[in-house]
């Protein structure tokens, strides 16, 4: 009984600190976006943003390409086998393209970013926190949010969108290769089918809803992963052990929240705004 209550107690206090962490993360995100759009020193802010964007893309590009290609290939293989039973192989391109654009592209990109860039950010800021570098910045009147957090979070939002576009393209290409090899669908036909399915219904200029909803999703994922990573890093304490804890916390929270928020956004786009 006592064990139960102490477990309940630690669960509740865990929940409490989790809520506090979530609140802190949300504040950090809002703060970063505001400061990103109204920088005090625009040139320096832009430079920090571009540095971050570049290093984030370098860190994740290779993994994204490999995973994206295999994702498309698996989708095409699995779906193609099923479609062949109904003699509907000509639908394959549309299904692969829509799955990549709406769900798989943003999701895969987010998971990879959480594990590579997010983990790196949490480790970097966590190390800076435990070695008093963050304190040193504050004492020099350099605001850590402007200097460190804002460029990282905003760059991660942009990275996520750019990499999602790349994953979609590579995934569709991978799917096309499998379609030709396994189901005898010519690559050109497959790509034309994918293009046609992604070009309507059109909202916002030339973007179809499939593409548009996916890109909004990945922007949100990127910003959230960035905010979670920065918040975990800044709150690290207790030496190297604390840095490790911050990294784990950041990756776990990012993956879980990506799934939950992903579901919500899908619901908004495809149920609420149907």
């Amino acid at each position: 009984m006592r064990a139960f209550f102490s477990a309940l107690g630690s669960f509740c206090s865990g929940l409490g600190s989790g809520c506090e962490h979530a609140g802190h993360t949300a504040l950090l995100l809002a703060d970063s976006i505001v400061r990103g759009f109204v920088p005090r020193q625009p040139l320096r802010a832009l430079r920090r943003f571009i540095d971050q964007l570049y290093s984030q893309l370098v860190k994740s590009l290779l993994v994204v390409i490999i995973v994206g290609a295999f994702m498309g290939m698996i989708l095409a293989l699995q779906t193609g086998e099923e479609l062949r039973n109904y003699g509907a192989e000509e639908q394959l391109a549309a299904i692969v393209a829509a799955s990549m654009a709406r769900e798989m592209g943003p999701f895969i990109t987010a998971i990879i970013l959480a594990a590579t860039v997010g983990a790196a950010i949490a480790a970097e800021l966590g190390t800076m926190r435990v070695s008093e570098e963050i304190d040193a910045l504050e004492l020099m009147n350099i605001d850590p949010v402007t200097f460190l957090v804002s460029p990282r979070i905003l760059a991660l939002g942009v990275s996520a969108v750019l990499l999602t576009v790349l994953v979609n393209v590579i995934g569709v290409l991978g799917g096309g290769v499998v379609a030709q090899a396994q189901f005898g669908i010519p690559l050109a036909d497959f790509l034309e089918g994918a293009r046609a399915s992604l070009s309507e219904p059109v909202i916002f200029g030339s973007l179809s809803k499939d593409l548009y909803s996916g890109l909004v999703k990945s922007l949100v994922f990127g910003l959230m992963i960035g905010a979670l990573a920065c918040a975990s890093g800044l709150r690290a304490h207790g030496g190297a052990l604390g840095v490790g804890r911050a990294v784990r916390q950041s990756v776990v929270a990012s993956v879980v929240i990506t799934l939950i928020v992903g579901y919500l956004i899908t619901w908004v786009f495809w149920v609420l705004l149907r």
């Binding site: 008093e132 570098e133 304190d135 040193a136 004492l139 020099m140």
Partner: protein, 263 residues
């Protein structure tokens, strides 16, 4: 006791702590501490490990807020200060961290340049001052190295150059010589004295090291049981018969009564 620690007249006091108390959970660290740092002097804070020396230093720069009492720097109350007041106080303050706390992805030069850029100086002026500061700490040839490529003593010297870069009125040192060899310790001590003589800065130095304390201090404050138990000139310190001071001086690890041993 508070009167004994506070020199007469208010205008020659740069930092004043009055009745400062700070606890973490159950543990009372500072318990009504009074301390006045005279302008232009180097004051060394000594005390056993865990007596709250770092906490005292962090209260002076607004990194920690005391539970009770007031901390003022140059007439501005630091605890509970507005962001703007805190910025103003900190712009006249340098902090030398125990681990140097250099930003690890910036070169030594860029680290020293950080506070200067923040004050809005032009690139040319920044370069000039950085060259001069690195030269003063004897490191003009390692400016392009990163903190990870420097030895502990070199990092400390870069940290010192960064702390005094903007010509602050007050420099806080957290254990500047702990863990350094005697030669490097002497170099750092000379820098602390130079901080006072060359830049006219007031220094507050947290230290375990009696030899270096006697070299740099105008006054030595002994922190004991949450208060300043003695505030003495180096000569008075050497002659004191306070048991903790004796244990520091004799380098005899005498028992201080709490089961801990003096360093």
């Amino acid at each position: 006791m508070s009167d004994a620690n506070v020199p007469k007249g208010t205008d020659d006091v740069l930092v004043r702590l009055t009745g400062v108390s700070k606890r973490f959970g159950e543990k009372v660290v500072l318990d009504g501490l009074d301390l006045a740092i005279p302008r232009g002097a180097n004051v060394v804070i000594m005390g056993l490990s865990g007596t709250g020396k770092s906490v005292t230093l962090k209260c002076m720069c607004g990194m920690l807020n005391p539970d009770a009492g007031t901390v003022s720097v140059d007439g501005v109350q630091v605890n509970g200060a507005s962001r703007k007041d805190l910025r103003r106080v900190r712009s006249k303050m340098g902090f030398v961290f125990q681990g140097a706390a250099l930003i690890n992805w910036l070169s030594a030069r860029e680290n020293v340049a950080l506070p200067l850029r923040e004050q809005g100086l032009k690139a040319r002026e920044v370069d000039e001052i950085v060259d001069q500061r690195l030269d003063e700490v004897g490191l003009s040839d390692i400016g392009d190295k990163f903190p990870g490529e420097l030895s502990g003593g070199m990092r400390k010297r870069v940290g010192f150059a960064r702390a005094v870069a903007t010509g602050p009125d007050l420099v806080l040192y957290d254990e500047p010589t702990t863990g350094l060899d005697p030669m490097t310790t002497r170099t750092i001590d000379e820098l602390i004295v130079a901080g006072r003589d060359r830049y006219g800065a007031t220094g507050v130095v947290v230290s375990h090291d009696v030899k270096s304390a006697l070299r740099v201090a105008d006054r030595i404050a002994l922190l004991y049981e949450g208060r300043v138990a003695a505030f003495l000139t180096p000569d008075e310190f050497v002659a004191s018969d306070h048991p903790v001071i004796r244990s520091f001086l004799d380098l005899d690890p005498a028992d201080d009564g709490s089961g801990r041993r003096a360093p």
